[in-house]
């Protein structure tokens, strides 16, 4: 079993504004990086990687905070993104045990499963809270492009994460 990093309240306090900054970047810089009208979801990427590297407990807490910022900054219904991100973190975290975190298929697993769960839950909750929204049409239009984009970004993002982890806390990553 991979070791759990201890929960640090100060880290969480610093994390809250940092996640806010990331959410702002997603709403602005994300538009510049749109591909076929699909924008990258930095917050989802971060949470999936966080879950895989540091466990589901931390991943879900970060998902809750990050989701709050996404909903708050978009003036949308609070809680929807949080629940969708928490679900993605929870499901992706299931595959964490017994798998080497540096395995080359991990980014694919995280991006496909995590993004799919996130989209499904988000669509479902949006349909419940937004009666006029046609969710099936949106699902068909977006899913495949977003999956490909998120997987590609995950391949870029994950090595950066490994590198930073090894530089900051070399003992934190145990493979196998």
């Amino acid at each position: 079993m991979q070791p759990q990093a201890p929960n640090n309240p100060i880290l969480l306090l610093l994390l809250f504004p940092a996640l806010g900054l990331l959410a702002m970047l997603q709403g602005t810089l994300g538009n510049q990086l749109a591909l076929l009208q699909v924008k990258p979801n930095f917050m989802l990427l971060l949470i999936l990687v966080w879950t895989m590297m540091r466990g589901r407990r931390e991943g879900m807490v970060v998902a809750f905070l990050g989701g709050f910022w996404l909903d708050f900054l978009s003036l949308g219904p609070l809680g929807i993104s949080s629940v969708a991100l928490i679900a993605a973190s929870f499901i992706v975290g299931i595959g964490r045990r017994g798998v080497a975190v540096t395995h080359h298929l991990i980014p694919v697993w995280m991006a496909i499963v995590g993004t799919s769960v996130y989209i499904l839950i988000f669509h479902l909750l949006l349909a419940l809270t937004h009666s006029t929204w046609t969710w099936m049409g949106e699902l068909r239009a977006n899913w495949h492009t977003l999956l490909i984009y998120q997987t590609g970004l995950m391949f870029l993002f994950l090595p950066l994460w490994y590198y930073s982890q090894q530089r900051l806390t070399p003992e934190a990553i145990h493979v196998g």
Partner: protein, 294 residues
Amino acid sequence: MRNRSRPRSPSDLSLLLITLVLASGLLWAMQRSGQLAILAKGLSQLTSPLQWRISVETLRLPEAFRQIAQTQLTREEQLALQAENKQLASENIVLQEILRENESLRSQLGYADLNPRFTFMSAHVVGQILGHDPHSFLDYLLIGAGISDGLEIGMPVITPLGLVGRIADVAPHTSRVLLIQDVSSSVSGLMQSSRVNGQVVGTSDGGLRMQFITSSDPVAVGESVVTSHLSASLPQGIPIGTVLSLEEQRNSTIIFAMLRPAVDFSLLEEVMVITNYEPLNEAPPLEIAPESRP
């Protein structure tokens, strides 16, 4: 790393999951009942300036990258001109931004002069939630003006080129604009030449579709569509788009007109909000700026 905490059981994880989901639900309920208004106001006052700054800076990024990519000087020349290039590039970016803003404001001013009956509030676009990422299934636009600027839900949002949408939600310093291309948006439209009325709705691919047209109506591709006098919530005469194609329904006399929006929503930087429009059926028509005429 040694784990100093006690071993955690799966039930701990389930408890955390349930707690976080319930907390999310509680946030939603409190938001709906208005109990988070004060907290949201305070947080919005903290984040709005930063959000606006990030938005402005990210808009400059492509231009900066383009200039860097176009620099094909030798290493020596680069070293010799490095300081000057940096300064000029920086000044150029700033000046272009000012020029663009100036042109936009001039255009808005001209539009406002043509329509003296209405009061316009100019606003920067501080965040775009366009496209179809997981958090943008609804097509919204965030603008840097809110309750403190006198904005209210339902106010029309336009540019000199045409209709953008309506204010869907307001915060102290920001507002959310529901774009006409959103699937939940519906606007009464009028074909300018044939005078055929219909309903313009957003489509899931970010386009516009005019419906309630019959095959006997003399509509044509290329015709301009403006807001109709039948619209109770918008002034009539605002450009919506032009007819791209006509789609017939099998075994039906109903046809759809697919429209090209008059406004490119992905390039919006400045918009105008009509702050004094009273939604009446007999609203005065808006004059269309000459440059926005097809």
